[in-house]
């Protein structure tokens, strides 16, 4: 060609240098891709990520005390909690002012119940004092120290004041301490009394049961995935329906089916009694305990284990096994040294998926778990809708979410989110 001698930059058809033209095209392509993604990304960010962030923020947010009792909080700054003295008149006067304002706005009970999470009994102090404070003439009714202590003895307890002082800052680690069965003591965090330690037990139980479910899913899914991957495709497709049907069936249908099966008057017990394996008056208790939860959830999550295992096992060449055997390996050696190592990615993918789903489960434990088989999720739901301790619910949720996100990250590293397969 004639322009091989041209030493200048290569030009595109419109005369701009090719390099710039290409990079412009690339930029346009990027922009177009981002424009296509943008609506959905904004939608998810706005209605999913931000709400969760806001909710989690409640676990450290604590402006209710400083907002409701502004004067008291300022007055308390110089009070030394370790002196063992009750605060002086100035502080009580500040409290009287705040209390009257709060009682008129009818918000004094809220701060009372907030502080009650930290020190039981404070709620009633606020309720009683608020009722009286409404009628006070602030200028002339002092001294307030006596008045408060006359209303309720608790106001003379330095520990109550310590609690108010501790929780007067805008942010608190109190909910997280609570969620880990700790409390703010005189020398920093300390363990709660043995009989009040419920959350550590609950977290341990959630982890233990999720692991049990994952392990039983592995044990049950492995043979099924193997047989699906090794049968001729026509019969494998038929058997696949037996795996996919439970997967597509409503979660509540499966849970209610297990409730029907596992009850004391249920199908399994009736069959066992009819066969004479169990006496009529000694029917097995299989529901409202850990056993029921594990069985039902294993059934519900089993397809999530089978499908990834199946897609990995499909790619393993059957000739490897035959080669191993022809080289003199026994059945077991051929399986354990040749086939099993190749199927580990499937086990890993399935296990993480099942574990992630199991650890945050709510519906099934709520319905078949009774009191001994509930998960941390059920406690979160309880604090959101019944006890209204939203901060604690948020703290428990944050811990759960962190665990799940770590697993999610691991899943992404090992399997890649793009490789999730459904059906």
């Amino acid at each position: 060609m004639s322009d091989t001698t041209d030493t200048g930059p290569v030009l595109a058809a419109d005369g701009t240098p090719l390099k710039r033209s290409l990079s412009r095209a690339l930029r346009r392509q990027k922009m177009r891709a981002l424009m296509l993604i943008a609506p959905l990304l904004l939608f998810v960010l706005l209605t999913f990520i931000v709400p969760i962030g806001q909710m989690l923020f409640r676990s450290v947010e604590n402006d209710i005390v400083s907002r409701t009792l502004p004067n008291t909080v300022i007055a308390l700054q110089d009070w030394d909690a370790d002196s063992g003295q009750i605060p002086d008149e100035a502080i009580f006067t500040a409290l009287a002012i705040d209390m009257q304002a709060a009682a008129e706005a009818k918000i004094h009970t809220r701060v009372g119940s907030r502080l009650n999470y930290e020190k039981p009994g404070i709620s009633s102090l606020f309720r009683k004092a608020g009722r009286k404070a409404k009628k006070w003439d602030l200028e002339n009714d002092g001294p307030y120290q006596e008045k408060f202590i006359k209303i309720a003895k608790g106001w003379g307890d330095p520990e109550v004041w310590r609690t108010i002082q501790t929780y007067s800052s805008k942010y608190t680690a109190g909910y997280f301490l609570n969620a880990a069965d700790l409390q703010n003591g005189t020398e920093g965090p300390e363990w709660r009394p043995e009989n009040e330690q419920i959350y550590i037990t609950l977290f341990k139980r959630t982890l233990f049961m999720s692991m049990m479910i994952t392990v039983s899913c592995i044990i049950l899914a492995y043979p099924v995935a193997w047989i699906l991957a090794n049968l001729p495709s026509r019969s494998a497709n038929l058997l696949m329906i037996l795996v996919l049907l439970p997967f597509w069936t409503s979660l509540l249908v499966r849970t209610s089916a297990w409730k029907v099966m596992l009850q004391q008057q249920g199908v399994i017990n009736d069959t066992l009694v009819w066969l004479g394996l169990v006496a009529d008056d000694a029917r097995l208790v299989m529901i409202n305990n850990q056993f029921g939860t594990i069985v039902a959830m294993t059934h519900i999550l089993l397809p999530f284990m089978i499908l990834p295992m199946y897609s990995v096992m499909q790619t393993i060449q059957p000739t490897y096994l035959r080669a191993a055997k022809s080289l003199g390996a026994t059945n077991w050696t051929a399986f354990w040294r040749v086939y099993f190592p190749q199927s580990i990615p499937g086990i890993g993918a399935g296990s993480i998926l099942v574990f992630i789903l199991a650890i945050g489960y709510y519906i099934t434990p709520e319905l078949v778990g009774g009191t001994k088989g509930v998960f941390i999720s059920n406690r979160i739901a309880f604090h959101i809708s019944s006890s209204l301790n939203w901060g604690l619910a948020a703290a428990l949720g944050s811990i759960l979410l962190v665990v799940v996100l770590i697993l999610y990250w691991a899943y992404d590293k090992i399997v890649g989110i793009d490789n999730v397969k459904l059906g």
């Binding site: 998810v44 806001q54 597509w248 979660l251 249908v253 089916a257 029907v260 249920g266």
Partner: protein, 402 residues
Amino acid sequence: MSLTPVEPRSASFTAGITSLAGGFAGIFIGTAQGSTFTGFIVGAVLLTILTYVALLMRSKEKVVRWIILLAFGVAGYVTGGISSGIMGLLMGWFFSWFIFWIGECRYRGHLVPYLTPGQVLWHYTFRVICGAIFVFLITPILVVLPLSFNAQDFFTFTPEMLSLDPEGYSLKHYRNFFNSSDWQLSFRNSLIIAPIATVISVSLGTLAAIGLSQSHVPGRRAIMAILISPMIVPLIISATGMFFFYSQVGGFLEGTIGLSKTVVGYIKIVLAHAVLGIPFVIITVTATLVGFDRSLTRAAANMGANPMTTFFRVQMPLILPGVISGGLFAFITSFDEVVVVLFVGSARQKTLPWQMFTGLREQISPTILAVATILVVISIALLTVVELLRRRSERLRGMSPS
């Protein structure tokens, strides 16, 4: 024909195995009648005799099998009525098949010739284990179906049902479902909410999936992680987050814009469900796009089609199966979702799963089983559609259905 040499087995070998099977079946029947041991002995002896007789008449296999089948059926019917008769027929069919399967060495027929007896035994043991797991998978769903026709308000099989007495069955739980205003309201709500949520997640999700499948997307991994997260974050956390968020949004929509409370309630749940359905759409559509031949869009552009025409006339028809099955996933997610509805919705917007959940927790009524049956039928229909679409998509993309 198989290469494996198949030669008839001796009667004593066959009888050894079949008598064990007979004894095993005898244990259950014996226990139900009161004596385990007698059951075992009777079963074993019966099968031994049957095996010797049957193998003497090897040449007339068909006749022998019919005789055994009918004999078992009649024996069952005489002792315990219709249901025992059916049990007897099933057992007769199994044993008559089993005797000849062992006796004629058919179990070796389709296996490779060099397997040792131990390996053959393991092969079939493994099949039985897998069968048991499949039974575990499917039984809970199958148990619900007949129980929903129960004439009593029980959650278990009544004696009338077991003896196949028509009196034991009725449609009253179905009538209850169609006549109860609570159930009808929730069913209607589910049918309103799920399709709208599906449309939102499918339209936004498909666009984003197409964007994500372009070759140069900055931060692709991070975007993907965010879009998939609704599937990964525990539902209870999503639900509590949405609970606070949508109570503010609801206040804004009612107060500032002035929409009615009912409409706002539906909007809240539809948006919440749309987010939950998105990961499924993204996953299925990106999976379809992996196999999409990009030169087709270039060819269309080359021939003068603008991007819109290219999308609707070339790309869309090819990825449609993936889009539809993603949509079905999104639909079932919304249709099946309880936790978010419980937190975000009010009683006016209760959906079918909500009603089932409260029903299971508080006053457990057998109407739930009728609803469950209807839902199982719906899911079978959806599964069939997805399966057909998957095959079609594989055919279109020239992949063999393996």
